[in-house]
């Protein structure tokens, strides 16, 4: 009669990877019928688990997900905002160049106080609109994030 049988954990380890077992345990496994029966049961169990039918979705998951994604972007779409900003800037520069004499006349005909009274609200309005657009964009992006 052999005492000190291997624990279940040790037997599982023996079945999964005998090379990790201690020599004492390996020697025990050689001579102990009780532990060998247990090991065989574990072996059969693992083979049984590995032989189980694999879970698989019975629908086309990729197709379902792809439907919900934004359409394929090309380079033009990706950089559209930058193209647009560049174009607007270009219009301002060209416009400013052609109207430079008129603008100069306008600037000299206005007192500095009136000029600032026009310039400051215009800049403030632009900043406000820009910030508002950015916030709306952030909100839309957040709405896309669930969980």
């Amino acid at each position: 009669m052999i005492d000190n049988h291997l624990t279940d954990i040790e037997i599982q380890e023996y079945v999964l990877d005998a090379s990790q077992c201690t020599k004492v345990n390996l020697d025990h496994m050689q001579v102990c019928g009780h532990c060998r029966v247990k090991a065989t049961q574990y072996k059969r169990l693992f083979a049984g688990i590995e032989g189980q039918e694999q879970a698989a979705f019975d629908f086309d998951l990729a197709a379902l997900v792809m439907e919900k994604l934004p359409a394929n972007k090309n380079l033009w779409d990706t950089y559209f905002e930058w193209w647009l900003a560049g174009f607007v800037l270009l219009v301002f520069v060209i416009g400013g160049y052609f109207l430079r004499t008129d603008l100069k006349a306008l600037r000299s005909s206005l007192t500095p106080l009136i000029f600032l009274l026009i310039l400051i609200p215009v800049l403030a309005l632009l900043v406000f609109l820009g910030f508002d657009m950015y916030k709306a964009y952030q909100k839309k992006m957040k709405a896309l994030n669930f969980y």
Partner: protein, 204 residues
């Protein structure tokens, strides 16, 4: 798309293609990882319709968070982690238990297995000489795996069916590696004890 090329494509260039707006590359990511996602969702979620919704949400979430993926793990492990978290959230919402208390003891398992037998197949429990077919054994094993808690089922599947290491499973479930190991030992022991009468019935 060329399939051979897809298989060879590493995680990083694939992710970069998606981030540059090539959504077709995302399809490759889905095809590569949906097996693992299916294993996790099937083990954690019983309802068929909910599985479908969760699976889609997993990949929309992956798509949204891809920017934040830092390649510290395999892409599949990261996707598995998102799938696992989504399933845990689902269980939480449904107030279902992820791991049952250890009252799910091995002895309790034997008793219910016997009752399962007498209920399903009258005299089977008494006929030791009645050798079960492989198919029947596989069916019983499936029932027994299904009776484990969602977490135990998932761990067993990830280790034995998906061939993941303890550390990869720890990453997916965000549990310490030692906990993963000890849960797995417990799950296997429970299964062995519950199935012992079957294995004894057959000549070992």
């Amino acid at each position: 798309m060329d399939l051979k090329f897809n298989k060879k494509l590493e995680d990083q260039p694939l992710v970069e293609r998606v981030l540059h707006g090539d959504t077709n590359a995302f399809q490759v990511i889905i095809q590569r990882t949906e097996g693992l996602v299916a294993q996790i969702i099937f083990k954690m979620v019983d309802n068929k319709e909910d599985r479908k919704d969760i699976a889609q949400d997993v990949y929309l979430k992956v798509f949204q968070s891809l920017k934040g993926f830092r390649f510290q793990s395999k892409l599949s492990t990261w996707v598995g982690q998102i799938a696992y978290n989504s399933a845990v959230n689902y269980l939480r919402k449904k107030k279902l238990v992820l791991v049952e208390n250890s009252s799910d003891s091995e002895d309790a398992g034997n008793i219910s297995l016997e009752s399962l037998y007498s209920a399903e197949n009258g005299s089977l429990a008494n006929e030791a000489e009645n050798i079960l077919s492989k198919k029947e054994l596989a069916g019983i094993l499936k029932l027994e795996i299904d009776r484990l808690s969602p977490l135990f089922k998932t761990l067993v599947t990830l280790y034995h069916n998906e061939d993941l290491s303890y550390s990869e499973i720890a990453e997916i479930t965000q549990l310490p590696e030692g906990t993963v190991k000890s849960y797995l030992f417990r799950a296997r022991k429970t299964l062995r004890n519950r199935l012992m009468p079957m294995y004894k019935m057959e000549q070992l």
